[in-house]
Amino acid sequence: MSKSGSPSNAQVIQLNQLIEADDFPAYVAVYSEQTVANPFALSPTVMQWSDRILLCRVNDCEQFWLTQKQKCACDLEQLLDPILRYHHGADYIAVFANHPWQCLVYLAFQMHQQAQGIYFLQSLLSRNIYQLLEWEFWFAPQDVLVTHLETSKANRFNAASFRTRQGQLKRFISRIGLAGPFELKQADHQAMTRRFDAWTGKIWRWTFDTASDLQGFPWISLAQAPRPTVSRELEYPINQWCTIEVLLREDFERLCQQFKCDASEHINRILWQITLFNDQKICVELSFRHPYSLHRELPVFKTALYQAWYVYDDLMHKLQARDKDLDLPEAMPFIAWQVEICERIHLPPILWDLFSDAGADFRLQDLGELQNKLPVPIETYRCEASFYPERSFEAVSPGMVAEPSFDHYQWSSSSSYRPLFYYQSPIEIEAPTNSPGIFLERCASRWWLYEDPEHQNRDYYVLKDTRGRASWVYRDGDGRWFKQGEYF
């Protein structure tokens, strides 16, 4: 392992790495012996599969985890392992896959193996093992599945009938001599439905399908604690921000008390339901690009109030525009409101340790906190290994490792004569009547992906208008001209 925690370059084959095409799994099944105090550590969408097994839908927070992964310059396993250990103990087993049923089947195998740690079903190694699994691991989670199907009153499900069909399937397998489900892969789920029953067909589909839809899987979400909510009925209508701000500050403090001042609770979204003077209710949202800790800003709540101000200002403009022709107050007053935390995530201190940037000249956390106070995102970019203009760089989240791991000189130096600002969608223009201008370069896209590779070239020029203003234009393989940038 290198110092940064990333896998050493000395490793030739990394079978435990995710394959590029499917980088982020949708679900995880976690087994642990200890009682889990906070099941919502990875996602707000959780199902208690059994006493010891939790299912989480991690792609609800995909952007968040991918950002943390890139910030910490590590892979998903290195990012999630300390978090899983913190919540589930050292002997946990976690299986990530695109469908909860696949997680459970593979988890049954790993439990049988008395394994520990994280497994990604998308990885080459796990995928190969999964395809060789025996029937016992496929049948193992079905007892609990029956319980959940009954609890959720699944459509046309009868436990006794299902068990009969299971018995038939087992006899069939024994007669034919099949070692595992993948030996019968040629039979699709419709064939299994016809031969046995609809629920056997569904389970069959869950076993092989790579899509992340539940497809009838009986997901029963674990209820979170009631959302912290604070309501206020105003003594008199108000519409001035200076007054609203004071009262909102009190309400944020009351919300903190509902959390019992737990500093690890972080908020993604707050819902502010406002009742106007004409009794109309309007819901607006305060959203935070980075998980925001209300407690850390006690008693000032600067960030939350900034977001509330942006929302209030926007709402006032919209109401004034809407009510211009009506005989209503110029700035519609509020008579009541309710503030509710509708999306939150529990981030233990260990996760904040991962973000420590003692070596940086500025604190990423300061940037994240500032970001939360602003209505527009902070943009940052890094170089990519491509000469093709649109692919020569990538937008990244602030704080992510911006320096590429390769020497980008040959690619970045090719952009010296390109403009600083460009049109994300090139604008078609008329062909220049006179000389097209100064020729800069010819670029080709990934021509091998197209049926007409000879038309994938672009010839770039600097084109000046009558006032001497320079634009960055190109002529494509079909002879059409486009403006793609401005030399500001």
Binding site: F362, V376, I378, S412, S415, L420, Y422, Y423, Y487
Partner: protein
């Protein structure tokens, strides 16, 4: 030995020294804050100090932004470029090719920076702020930005999309310049307010070369 009264303690003495230094117009003990590597350009910016606002006149299409860019290459503090060019985005590989450190230069899109990005000016997260052709930027906004820059010892570049003129002054700017590219081989810089030559040129090679 009697103890030294608080007002004469070491800390207060160093504070007095610092404040005394600030009164001095020339601070030869500190290096130049804005450094481009182009000698003629550096002479113009030799006296820039924290808290200064520099106004640039750079009409569109004349490639003039390459000149302020010279001060955003390596070893810059955390900086932000606030832009609002209709339909245009940042072509990051071009910035990188000019040696700009994109780990320290961030971007934000806003037509009314003071109104929309007020928290940014109320903190010292960014030590260099470039406000590029804001759609709305009143005298009150200018006064506010200037005041905050002095408070947090930031340097602010305010880029206008027209050439500046001495007929319409700006008391908040310590330096006012126009800059544009002439043909393909030269960049011109005209000092409207500030020290240094009134007008001079730089070769394209000087501007396009990375000066370490």
């Amino acid at each position: 030995m009697a103890s030294i009264p608080v007002q004469f303690s070491d800390t207060s003495l160093s504070d007095h020294l610092v404040s005394a230094r600030l009164l001095s117009p020339t601070r030869s003990d500190q290096g130049q804050l804005l450094h481009s590597g182009i000698e003629s350009l550096d002479r113009v910016f030799a006296r820039v100090k924290p808290g200064d606002l520099i106004e640039w006149g750079i009409p569109p299409g004349l490639n003039g932004r390459l000149i302020p860019l010279q001060f955003l290459k390596r070893q810059i503090p955390t900086s932000v470029w606030i832009y609002h060019h209709h339909g245009l985005g940042i072509f990051a590989s071009s910035w990188i090719s000019h040696g700009v450190d994109l780990q320290r230069l961030f971007f934000m899109r806003s037509a009314q920076p003071v109104k929309e990005l007020r928290p940014l000016f109320l903190e010292d997260t960014f030590k260099r702020i470039i406000i590029d052709s804001p759609k709305k930027f009143s005298k009150g906004d200018l006064a506010f930005v200037s005041q905050q820059a002095r408070k947090y010892r930031q340097i602010v570049f305010l880029i206008r999309h027209y050439f500046l003129s001495p007929k319409q002054g700006n008391p908040y700017a310590s330096l006012r310049l126009n800059t544009w590219q002439v043909g393909r081989g030269e960049f011109s810089l005209q000092v409207i307010k500030g020290h240094g030559a009134d007008k001079f040129t730089m070769s394209a090679q000087q501007v396009y070369t990375n000066h370490e």
